[in-house]
Amino acid sequence: QMNFTGDQVLRILAKNEKQLSLLRDLEGLKPQKVDFWRGPARPSLPVDMRVPFSELKDIKAYLESHGLAYNVMIKDIQVLLDEEREAMAKSRR
């Protein structure tokens, strides 16, 4: 099983189309690093992006340097995955 310890999901609220395209650029800048759970669609919709722990610093710096407001939607993915796995095991028992 892949481990997602420290990976976070950031929820980003792009103010306009320009900021959305900055987010789309990320997929090219960091190929196979950022995983859009909710892709950049329109300014009225949030963008949710899973970021590996190793890329967090870079990505947050990129967002802040471009004035992209974000919050941490999931602080550590692996914690939720462990809870999910435990719930499945418990149910099976």
Binding site: Q1, F4, D35, W37, P40, R42, I74, S91
Partner: protein, 310 residues
């Protein structure tokens, strides 16, 4: 392996093996109204199974429901399983379900992407695509919701095999998509198609590949509005609704566009809840409430289809 569905937990997530065992038990226990069809094999040669709910007749008008085309969206498979049980438990009691099943068949494909789903349990919980591989291509998997013929390869899909929205080498190149296309086209009388995804709390209809409104846009808009209202009344979860390209983003090669272009006027795509903070990792405690609210929306669409034959 479980010997009956009575000990199956509908409020938990399950592995592919558990779901396939449940399907066998479920069909055995409700053989008067449910049968299991194998419509093909996945890339890694797993069976692609469809539940058929029928009270008789032949080639009746039908409703197609699928879940799990994106494997990490576990809430969709769980919702599909719950809906299957709801249909058999309500037939003969609930007027809507009884009326629908006395006139139409329902086909339910709970695991549309079995290889990807198995992979989310074995290796990568956040895997989205199928598991196809081709000589000379470094990355694995095609986004099955970009591999349909309608608008194939257009905006909102990616030609890069490493992308999460890679559309594949050609339309219906993926066995998981080709199996459904062949089944629906050979059936020839499917009147509604509902494809269940997660997340972001939306109910959408074609088109995704273009901003051009479909011919019965007005009807679909009001039907989506009614369905979303029925969903909201269960647990107060708010959805937005509209055509895919104007509500979410342009996406090409998607299931509901292909269905609509194949003559299925009532084609919808659900993006189920995450209640704003769990994304694909919705806790199992939310399976039942999610399924309950989704069922009310699906019933709304089924009734409309029943009352508006074409």
């Amino acid at each position: 392996l479980e010997r009956s569905t009575s000990s199956f937990s509908y409020s938990s997530y399950h592995t592919l093996e558990e779901i396939y065992t449940w399907i066998d038990n479920f069909v055995t226990e409700h053989s008067d109204i449910v049968s299991k069809l194998q419509i093909g094999h996945s890339f890694e040669n797993r069976s692609i199974l469809v539940l058929k709910f029928s009270t008789g007749g032949s080639r009746r008008p039908a409703i197609w429901i699928d879940s799990g085309i994106h494997s990490r969206e576990w809430i969709t498979h769980a919702t599909g399983i719950w809906i299957a049980r709801k249909i058999v438990s309500e037939y003969g009691k609930d007027r809507v379900v009884t009326d629908v099943l006395n006139a139409m068949d329902i086909f339910l494909e709970i695991v549309s992407n079995p290889d990807g789903f198995a992979y989310t349990h074995s290796m990568n919980r956040l895997w989205r695509k199928n598991k196809s591989s081709r000589p000379g291509i470094f990355c694995i998997g095609v986004d099955l919701n970009r591999n349909w013929k309608s608008g194939f390869g257009g905006n909102g899909s990616n030609n890069n095999p490493c992308s999460e929205t890679y559309h594949g080498p050609s339309p219906q190149s993926e066995p998981e998509v080709a199996a459904v296309v062949d089944f629906i086209m050979s059936h020839g009388n499917v009147k509604a198609l509902i494809s269940i995804h997660s997340y972001s709390q939306m109910l959408m209809y074609p088109y995704g590949h273009s901003l051009e409104p479909v011919s019965n846009q007005e009807e679909l808009y009001h039907l989506a509005k009614d369905a979303v209202q029925a969903l909201y009344e269960v647990h107060g979860i708010e959805y937005i609704y509209g055509s895919i390209s104007t509500t979410l983003y342009v996406a090409s090669g998607i299931t509901v566009d292909w269905a609509y272009d194949s003559g299925i006027k009532y084609s919808f795509s659900f993006e189920l809840r995450d209640t704003g903070r769990y994304g694909f990792l919705l806790p199992a405690a939310q399976i039942i409430p999610t399924a309950q609210e989704t069922w009310m929306a699906i019933q709304t669409i089924m009734v409309h289809t029943l009352h508006h034959p074409y």
